[in-house]
Amino acid sequence: MRMIARKLSLYALTAWVAITVNFLLPRLMPGNPVQTLIGQLTGRVTPQQVHAIELSFGIGLHQNLFHQYTGYISQLFQGNLGVSITLASPVSSILRAAVPWTVGLIGVSTILSFIIGTFGGALLGWTRGSRFDTVIPVATFFQAVPYFFLGTVVLLVFGSTLHWFPVLGAYSPTLTPNLSWTFIYSLIRYGELPVITIVLSSIAGWMLGMRNMMITMIGEDFVLMAVAKGLPRRKVIMHAARNAVLPSVANLSLAIGLVVSGALLVELVFNYPGVGNLLLQAVLNEDYPLIQGIFLVITMTVLAANLIADLIYLGLDPRTRTEAAV
């Protein structure tokens, strides 16, 4: 339990750092861009909204920084992330519509990539030195390709040239979201290419890490013992793989942040209605309240995912549990 408490306090601290960065950046950067932006706003939004934006960026306030800070945090805890400049509606309601798409897309891709990569890596480690080793440079190449570039190529080849997959958007534009089978089928079909892109880009890391651990494990005595006992090969592989997978699971929480960073851009390429697409639109339109709201929500979601990954690791590795009990 001590380990959970440690992790919880780390994530709480991280959340606080993210919030504070968000608060300080617009106030400390020289030549505040928000100030010039507000000048162009007249006529596009109501005076109340201009006032709300000014408040959330500390413009025209005759308070000291500490007062502004406590006010900012209390607003956050009430779920108030400010008002989007271009969309002229509360950032929190815009995000509520976008977050499920991103969580679904990245969640499914990460789980698939972890499972396939780990199994593939275990087999690569077992058959080391054979012709299967040629997979390694290929996988490395896919890992080095930027996600958004791979997405563009995949979109061009399989989407708009071969027409194997429907592209652009999250479901057929003729449908409205509901729980019917037609809609779910369309959802899956439209999700296939983005998921394939993210899996292809992120799988190599899992595969190589698992392969290296597997090679190290195979040299251990307990594997030799398992073979000497006459266990079938399949069981021996599982025996070694179960022990080799622990570092991968331990790294899961670190890798999530990297995958999320890359996957946000895949949404842009496929015009997927998630947070990544929203973030890049916000950057283009210099919609600062939206940029900041998205940054906070992404960070909080990643922290929650990290915590889940840590709990899984805790459940898998008995050594961490005994350490926690001491």
Binding site: Y11, P33, R128, I136, A144, L156, T216, V223
Partner: protein
């Protein structure tokens, strides 16, 4: 001194070749570019030909020249960010591992916080607030990238320092009365070299990705040619949908090749650190020559050994240095 025996596996040689090629391109790229990359005095949307190897953009700029000129900014920013971030990782990681106690707690907490915040969104937020003068300066961008990229290296280096801290030779210099700083710099740092090299390669890899992504999103100056701005212009002119593969594929392939080269070099370092990986990295022909079994056998991980004369000198030098 034991001589560094670089692994001879084909993967590492390929990595060395790729990285070397692009380093040369970084230096000579702008000199050998046939045209000015920004000049718009050609016919727009030309397909690849002998005069324009990768065709022209929809503004009539030569794409091959953009690729050659862009190599410099891309590589320089990546190298700068990689070096600065690694310097930060060494300082923080080695200090945390060696000092221990509350200093370690604090520094470890700091790097864990930076690891947990997703890098790209943080980078985008910081970058979107940079004043225009900062955003158009590649060095400022490189420094911001290094701020978000040091934490992983610091973590790995701290772990390695911890394992070195209680070895006999460190203990010995502590007993002689060497200062902490001197022990850190002269005893511990040299033994961190393989880990340090690997973390430098990873950070450069991260920096290339981050820089290109920022440029692609439009958060760097579009007047500076790098592979990311090329992709930005290709995307904003709908090159992928128009089938102009010769516009957006070359910069993407270059980015991927540099990344692959760095990762392959890193395999070499892994094989250097872990002898079990070293033997499995060789091709069949090299295995036979080194007298290893053709197929790996269970329980007997083949370990590559140095030829006899080298072993003798290594022994001599170790005993004389003690």
């Amino acid at each position: 001194m034991k001589t560094l025996r670089l692994p001879r596996s084909p993967k590492v040689l390929l990595g060395l070749f790729i990285v070397g090629f692009f380093l040369i391109l970084t230096v000579i790229g702008p000199w050998i570019a046939p045209y000015n990359p920004s000049a718009t005095n050609f016919l727009p949307n030309l397909t690849p030909s002998a005069t324009h190897w990768f065709g022209t953009t929809s503004l009539g700029q030569d794409i091959f020249s953009q690729l050659l000129v862009g190599a410099r900014a891309t590589m320089v920013v990546a190298l700068l960010a990689g070096l600065v971030a690694t310097a930060l990782s060494v300082t923080i990681g080695v200090a945390a591992g060696y000092l221990g106690g509350p200093a370690d707690e604090g520094l470890t907490m700091l790097s864990n916080v930076f690891l947990a915040i997703p890098g790209l969104p943080l980078l985008i937020v910081i970058d979107s607030y940079l004043p225009v003068s900062g955003r158009s300066n590649e060095y400022v961008i490189g420094l911001v990238i290094s701020l978000t990229g040091w934490a992983w290296g610091a973590r790995v280096l701290r772990a390695q320092t911890l394992s070195l801290r209680n070895r006999d030779f460190v203990e010995a210099s502590r007993i002689i009365g060497e200062s902490r700083l001197r022990i850190m710099v002269t005893e511990i740092a040299p033994n961190l070299l393989p880990v340090l090299a690997s973390s430098l390669l990873f950070t450069i890899l991260y920096a290339i990705g981050a820089y290109v992504t920022l440029a692609y999103v439009g958060l760097t100056s579009t007047a500076v040619w790098n592979w990311g701005t090329m992709l930005f212009w290709a995307q904003s002119n709908n090159a992928p949908l128009a089938g102009q593969w010769y516009w957006f594929v070359p910069p993407g392939i270059c980015i991927a090749l540099v990344g692959t080269g760095l990762a392959l070099l890193n395999f070499g370092i892994d094989e250097f650190i872990n002898p079990r990986l070293r033997a499995s990295g060789l091709s069949g022909k090299m295995r036979r020559r080194s007298g290893l079994p053709r197929r790996p056998r269970l329980g007997f991980t083949p370990v590559l050994r140095t030829p006899r004369p080298t072993v003798v000198t290594a022994r001599l030098s170790t005993s004389s240095s003690k």
